[in-house]
Symmetry: C2
Subunit: 381 residues, 2 copies
């Protein structure tokens, strides 16, 4: 088993943000796996989605059960093979898993940021990641890779730093959120900010956590991660504890009756124990705001003109959060610019979650793609 | 314009409920339109869904803007023609629009029911509606009709009182909720019951209303009523007030930024002003529980064997709440029993909401079906 080690990179210089604000005295948590080759040509940056971190692969020596969130994808002999690549996982600004975020102290005020943490965008994250690469002495990435919101970062890399990326692997992602995506984010945010324990985002000072809101947010999230089919197969209309009646129902409005209710409550409770409410707001807003075509009057092909690297896009048939049609929009935009793009639409039952799961066809597509990149690295690898 | 008049029918005898409990001293609010013919053969019962009432068509003399929720369907010369049929709209038990519900006094205790209002099911509602018909002297319905949850009641009528129904019109409905449907209901319920103003359902005594929870519940509901396409067309990524920056964004986690956010907040606010929280719990549970196949080991064909009337089923292509596949399950179950069933799958962009909207093909299908029924009534009509 790969042994991971969380590292911290401090940054003194202020990072200008898309909003016009800036952040200084921040640090990024990151992990690396494998060995950087002599000409530093085998680095792969992995970007995370909403509920994930820089702990991408392996386990910590003192936490043998704390497995990286993409460990099925990344490690020795895995599709992204750490025997051949130097893989970097980085936690984004504003997160609650190590990098500077709302629960940390603002050096300008000496107070915990809370709701005053500056709004960060996908572009800001990419800029911060570029600085991390600078600090690690990596000029160009063999590849940048991510799923969902992580895929948006990978895509944005190819537009913000086209010369620094040779390949981009964009999985289960979209060129922007549609109205329904924004709507679900908004409901989750309203649940959080209207929780009396939110205290306008300064709940830390009150010694409370807006758990009610976080639970609702997570329950909504979970529904959108799963496909209809997988929900029906996994839970269907099964009861948690059938009682002795004709129907088996308890006839109660508040007791847990169906298995799906039990599952969602459990997921919501667990999440509310560790996730930061301000981080949830920040990350969902970063999702809402991402829209590279916006500056080009909505013309995605025009926006993607800047990208010069090669692409692999992957989508999953039952993903209704970021449907295959959204990935195809990106593919079309790239082809309009005659870019080198591979696209795999995987017939998988698991919905959006599929990008994190073991699907042989999916993993083989990624393995083949990275295999080609590894071979192209030549002697220096 | 049809002038409607809300009426009240009191019931002294206790109504046994599916849960084993019973309710006594209750009343039902109802409205009727048109004239009952001499042999009482032209009565049509219209059942309502979650957020609706007995006010199905027309306006009240003193409220000229308070239009019945299915006024485009029902009235003089409309698809369900009140010049030919005697139409009855009834508000269900547990509702907050007139019939006995959680905000009324329990005659057994002298206290407001609140959360102690007994759990009511689709079957219970149908039994209560049957008693109303008894009181009105109507032995057999020319038709029973409903959309969504109202369609479930129409379907249940054909199983509970097969001899009393000649036709059933079941629109945008399903033979039961699937796991995803239950999941959305559960999130909405959790938002309500975890609102500190809910007070375990006895908020009336505290002079408060769990508006936070009701807002979230309604926002979730609205997302599921609309199709992806119609949301994108209506709102897309349009900003409410673009600010003067490259992107037009305000870069705020809590301000309204997108039009879809503004729409959802408005819908949530409005709903929380008038809808009762306990009613929301009761009605979503009635939805969860409805499952006529349950007593037959999940065999819907077996369950539908009891139905002897003729059927019209209608579904809408972009309805992802109760998709056409769910209506087709009912059609199949009826055909397995060699029942007379017509089925129209309407290619409409509006999602679940379509059943309330003006779609010429949809309205014409219903018009033609009721036209045939009217003609079959013969001289007595």
């Amino acid at each position: 088993m790969l042994i991971a080690e969380s590292q911290t990179m401090p940054f003194d210089a202020a990072l200008p943000l898309q909003s016009g604000a800036s952040i200084r005295g921040y640090s990024l948590s990151y992990e690396t796996y494998g060995t950087l080759n002599a000409d530093k040509s085998n680095a792969v940056l992995v970007c995370h989605a909403l509920n994930a971190s820089h702990h991408v692969a392996g386990v910590y020596a003192d936490q043998p059960n704390n497995l990286g969130w993409w460990d099925n994808m990344i490690g020795p002999g895995k599709p992204l093979d750490t025997d051949r690549f130097f893989v970097i996982g980085v936690n984004n600004l504003g997160s609650c898993f190590g990098s500077t975020g709302p629960m940390h102290v603002n050096p300008d005020t000496g107070l915990v940021y809370g709701a005053d943490f500056p709004v960060v965008t996908v572009e800001d994250w990419v800029n911060a990641q570029a600085r991390l690469l600078d600090a690690l002495g990596i000029e160009q990435l063999a590849a940048v890779m991510g799923g969902s919101l992580g895929g948006m970062q990978a895509l944005s890399w190819t537009l913000q730093y086209p010369e620094r990326v040779k390949h981009a692997v964009v999985v289960a992602s979209a060129p922007n959120l549609n109205a329904e995506n924004i709507a679900f984010n908004e409901v989750a945010r309203r649940a959080i900010v209207t929780d009396p324990d939110f205290h306008n985002g300064h709940f830390y000072a009150h010694g409370v956590v807006p758990k009610r809101g976080l639970r609702i947010a997570r329950m909504i999230g979970h529904i959108t991660y799963l496909s209809d089919d997988v929900m029906n197969e996994k839970f269907g209309r099964e009861l948690r504890n059938a009682v002795n009646s004709d129907t088996g129902y308890k006839y109660s409005t508040q007791d847990v009756e169906f298995q799906i209710e039990s599952y969602l409550r459990y997921q919501g409770d667990k999440f509310s124990e560790y996730f930061d409410a301000n981080t949830y707001l920040l990350i969902t807003r970063a999702l809402d705001y991402f829209d590279p075509a916006r500056a080009f009057g909505g013309d995605l092909s025009k926006a993607l003109e800047r990208a010069i690297c090669k692409f692999l896009l992957v989508s999953f048939t039952t993903d209704w959060r970021f449907s295959p049609a959204r990935s195809r929009e990106i593919v079309k935009g790239l082809i309009d610019n005659r870019r080198d793009v591979s696209y795999a639409e995987i017939d998988a039952p698991h919905g959006h979650d599929a990008f994190l799961l073991d699907d042989a066809r999916y993993l083989n597509v990624v393995r083949a793609y990275f295999g080609q990149i590894a071979n192209s690295l030549g002697d220096a690898a």
